[in-house]
């Protein structure tokens, strides 16, 4: 077919942009999409969601013009009675409001989006305006809040699929078309499986990942922290399976700790001290060779009895016995012992491997945790406890272990070392691109001035998800203004966060909500004004995969993806929303500040910095970043008609572990100080009664969250998990994915264990109600199976769409988030993570 044009671009049906694709275009419409065989890391492969994107641009319900609501009543599924308006009318609504707010108090404006390639622009835009930002993802996305691998590795992480022999997928479906780089990980994990790697999945649900693994370890939700600590206890105290040299040389294990839980510091230099076993004296940590540092024992220094933090950890962990852990997690003690031993042995501690002439530590065992265990009331401790297992076997950023994504690209953003010798967050500058904050060193606690309350969370990376909670009563948190202007784009908070009616209550308080969208969603339907946006097949996203999240790990090349439009949007009014935002910026009159912030934020160096006095387009801005960062520009991609720029990786970029300096913390001394800091602020605010600070302890521990208390009335947990066929609510509006989803009962049903169903007289296929402790309920078809923990019911993804203007997906599947209520005591006061561990009961309709 000669009349079919083939255009290369990059997928965006989920945010990972993991697959280069070829669009086959005929008569101005997409005929089909297929994988681009030449584009790493997917090499011709493409997933079910990406393929479903074929129909996205031609959705008959596209938003074509600026629309203003005429129905003042805002509600779920309520017709906003849209009226088409002109662009000038639209700007007249937006610009004067923005001008006023910018003068009065710019923080009254908030921008929220989960549109990855746009973070380069959005964050500096907010900075230039002085606005608040809310990363759309940071709602129930447990993995954003808990800074453990942000700290240990990078913004995102993957196991070294190519080398690992023992992989524990802990509440994540990585390798099964979920999680980072879904397509290439699926291949790598399949290779590993065929190679004979052992895969263990710890998950309350026999997800595809779990039921295809060598072993499914069903766990009672919310008890993962305890299990991790028990594993650690076994590795350290029972089996001695840990990387002793690594502990000595690359962790704060040798640092001496005083009885008051602080480091013993050198009075002259203020440096943390260690015990020199050769000379039997204390010394600053950088004063002696690491081999001489004592790891165990009690030592008297300047009259104070101190212990190396490693010794403290060891002693502390002894309380987490397999037997007690078994009783809480419901995992048999023998299995706990066996898995700990298998993991420790598989790590081949002490072994090395030669890659491209470099001799590197080889630790082919890894624990990978995801959203499941971390979206928890004590998520911070849980996340660090699970990740500490990797630290104990010394597998950070080495072959076979756990790798930070993009952590060491051109050594530009590699981890630093502070004066205490501690590794600072490996990419402490570059993940700012995403609006995240450093989690180490701790920031000073302060009275909150933004709705994300981040002053109360000095060691968390993201706290944006708190804004609906703050809005219930800003003054309570010391915030003396209300949000007046909200911009949302490419995010659907009404469906991906908590109960939508509770959300709407808060959203109603906002004077003006501006939405950008290509098709109707629940959240757009509570906007006051909606502007049409291009779909990913109609626009340029020159920097399609951000380096901190969606690049492959291991020796595979760096791949910098480029998205270009393949069809025209269905209306000339449709433009890239960033271009509209730029236009608004011009009219409001802060382009200069915007360009300057853009230069700063993206660390653009001369001569590529934007000239703030000139007019720079969206494409000029992208060009500046690309030239500075990668050394290519948009013209290069266009001239070559390619969708990817490939750069070779060096061994130390791929496996930075042994090449970077700095000690990782197994003893979180800084948490203790941060906690004390927060206590002051909490006192000032008069929040002592509701803001418990128990988690700010230097040794990792486990506490049951409120929902773990046994309850006769709400006897089950509602667990939610992603499906490889869906991207949150986005693909619920796509009939191709929905059609396939329908053939598997569990995808839009409520999964119930056989015994539980029998006890309640529920039969397979029957309609049941799921009612949560918050008093909300949703309906679904029971899918009775052995594949779920008997104390749990399971639902997939973000079902149950309720959009007025879009029939596709409406009411398909139960909407799990409806069950979740907003409550201060369900939020982790360290990470801001919201507890997804939810008590429910079920009964027949």
């Amino acid at each position: 077919m000669t009349d079919v044009k083939k255009i290369r671009t990059v997928c965006n049906m989920c945010q990972t942009a993991c697959s280069g694709i070829i669009a086959h275009v005929k008569d101005g419409a997409v005929l089909k999409l297929s994988g681009d065989p030449e584009c790493p890391p997917s090499y011709g492969k493409i997933c079910v969601k990406g393929l479903a994107g074929t129909l996205s641009p031609s959705n008959p319900n596209r938003i074509l013009k600026p629309m203003r609501r005429t129905n003042p009543e805002k509600g779920l599924g309520v017709d906003p009675k849209w009226k088409e308006i002109t662009w000038e009318e639209a700007f007249d609504e937006i610009v004067p409001r923005m001008k006023r707010i910018r003068q009065e108090n710019s923080l009254k404006l908030m921008l929220s989006s989960f549109d990855y390639p746009q973070y380069y622009h959005m964050i500096p835009w907010c900075i230039a305006f002085g606005a608040q930002y809310y990363v759309g993802a940071a709602t129930l996305c447990g993995i954003y809040h808990n800074s453990s691998y942000h700290y240990y590795l990078s913004f995102f992480r993957d196991p070294d699929f190519e080398h690992t022999n023992y992989l524990v997928l802990w509440g994540t479906q990585s390798g099964h078309l979920v999680d980072a780089l879904p397509v290439s990980s699926a291949k790598k994990l399949a290779d590993a499986r065929v190679r004979g790697a052992k895969i263990i999945v710890i998950d309350p649900v026999a997800t595809p990942a779990a039921s295809l693994a060598d072993e499914w370890v069903p766990i009672r939700p919310g008890t993962d922290g305890l299990l991790a600590l028990c594993f650690a206890n076994l590795l350290l105290n029972e089996y001695g399976l840990y990387d002793h040299p690594f502990m000595q040389s690359r962790t704060n294990g040798p640092y001496l700790v005083r009885p008051d839980e602080s480091y013993m510091r050198d009075s002259a230099t203020n440096k943390p001290m260690v015990w020199d076993e050769t000379n039997r004296t204390a010394a600053p940590f950088d004063g002696i060779p690491w081999e001489h540092m004592a790891m165990e024992g009690t030592f008297e220094v300047e009259g104070v009895l101190c212990q190396p933090s490693f010794q403290l950890l060891k002693n502390h962990l002894k309380q987490y016995t397999p037997e007690e852990t078994a009783a809480v997690t419901t995992i048999p003690a023998d299995d706990i012992r066996r898995i700990a031993r298998e993991f420790g042995e598989a790590a081949r501690i002490g072994s090395t491997i030669t890659i491209q002439g470099e001799n590197l530590p080889y630790r082919p065992a890894a624990v990978l945790t995801g959203r499941g265990p971390n979206a928890n009331r004590h998520g911070m401790h849980t996340a660090f406890a699970t990740d500490m297992l990797n630290v104990l076997v010394g597998n950070l950023n080495v072959p076979g272990g756990i790798l930070g994504i993009g952590a060491n690209y051109k050594h530009r953003w590699g981890p630093g070392v502070d004066e205490d010798g501690i590794a600072t967050s490996p990419n402490s500058t570059y993940w700012h691109f995403f609006g995240a904050l450093d989690s180490y060193p701790a920031r000073p606690a302060a009275k909150p001035f933004m709705h994300n309350l981040n002053g109360l969370f000095p060691v968390a990376a993201f706290t944006d998800n708190l804004f609906p909670l703050t809005m219930t009563d800003p003054e309570r948190f010391g915030i003396d203004y209300n949000l007046e202007f909200l911009i949302i784009s490419h995010v659907n908070p009404l469906t991906t966060y908590i109960n939508p009616t509770e959300m709407i209550e808060q959203f109603k308080k906002i004077d003006f909500i501006l939405g950008f969208g290509s098709n109707w969603t629940e959240s757009l339907e509570i906007c006051d004004l909606v502007l049409p946006d291009a779909t990913w097949l109609e626009r340029y996203d020159p920097i399609a995969n951000p380096p901190f999240k969606f690049v492959q790990t291991g020796m595979g090349d760096w791949h910098w993806a480029f998205r270009r439009p393949v069809v025209d949007p269905p209306s000339p009014d449709i433009k890239h929303w960033m271009e509209i935002l730029l236009e608004i910026t011009e009219r409001v009159g802060f382009t200069k500040e915007y360009y300057e912030a853009f230069n700063e934020h993206n660390l653009i160096r001369d001569p590529h910095r934007l000239d703030p006095e000139k007019k720079n387009t969206f494409m000029d801005m992208c060009d500046a970043v690309m030239k500075d960062r990668y050394g290519v520009d948009i013209d290069w991609y266009e001239k070559n008609q390619t969708n990817v720029y490939i750069q070779k990786k060096s061994v130390d970029e791929a496996y930075p572990g042994p090449f970077v300096k700095g000690r990782y913390q197994i003893y979180m001394e800084y948490w203790k100080h941060a906690g004390e800091d927060v206590r002051q602020v909490v006192k000032e605010l008069g929040l002592e009664d509701v803001w418990d600070l128990d988690d700010y302890q230097p040794l990792l521990n486990w506490q049951p969250s409120a929902s773990l208390k046994e309850r006769a009335d709400y006897d089950l947990f509602a667990v939610n998990y992603k499906s490889c066929m869906h991207t949150f609510s986005h693909t619920m509006f796509n009939p191709l994915t929905l059609e396939i989803g329908h053939v598997y009962p569990w995808i839009y049903g409520v999964v119930v264990h056989t015994d539980t169903a029998r006890a309640k007289g529920i039969r397979n296929g029957e309609e049941i109600w799921v009612e949560s402790e918050f008093g909300y309920r949703v309906k679904g078809k029971a899918v009775v199976t052995e594949g779920i923990h008997p104390e749990c019911i399971g639902t997939t993804g973000t079902g149950g769409r309720l959009t007025f203007g879009e029939a596709v997906g409406r009411r398909v599947g139960p909407h799990w988030n409806t069950l979740v209520g907003q409550a201060l005591d369900r939020i982790d006061k360290m990470s801001s993570s919201i507890d997804a561990c939810l008590r429910v009961k079920i009964y027949k309709v």
Binding site: L31, K32, V48, P60, S211, M725, E786
Partner: protein, 200 residues
Amino acid sequence: MKRWGMVIDLKRCIGCNSCTLACKVENGTPPGIFYRRVLEKTTGKYPSVRRTYLPVQCMHCENPPCVNACPSGVFKKREDGIVLVDSSKCYGARACRIACPYNAISFLEKIGTYYPDGITKTESMWYENHLEGTAEKCNFCAERVDQGLLPACVEACPAEVMKFGDLNDPRSDVSQLIKARDGFQLQPELGTNPSVYYVK
């Protein structure tokens, strides 16, 4: 003579249905028509629960019962083993669907649309080649294969579950894999001798 064949590695398959949709998009099949399907079965008692995913499609049988069952001569086996279907000859007896042991033949009763609000431009291009009231099935992507490309499902599969090649060539990937990992066919006792093999 070549005999095109496929090996499906069940150890690699994660049941994601990317193949299903790759096939749909390649062939532009209307709603409800799947040339390729990924079957699923959960077995075992808690907590030893196992899931099997079984992708199926036309097996391109060496002795294809569909060919003989159809009174109308709709199915033809090419020399290279690909069983083709010419829907324009079909009048709807459905004997083929009864005869095919692998439920590989779809019967397109009516061409629907994916969006309730009507047909999209993409779909109107897709459905041009489909006739209401006729039988259809996987044609092993004969057009692609003749151009030296892999079938769409094989190319798309994220987990690289499939190998495609010449079963008559003992050195081909497919033959090697069948040999190395005891490839088997579905329902071999029926004597159809499928060109699609599986390894566990």
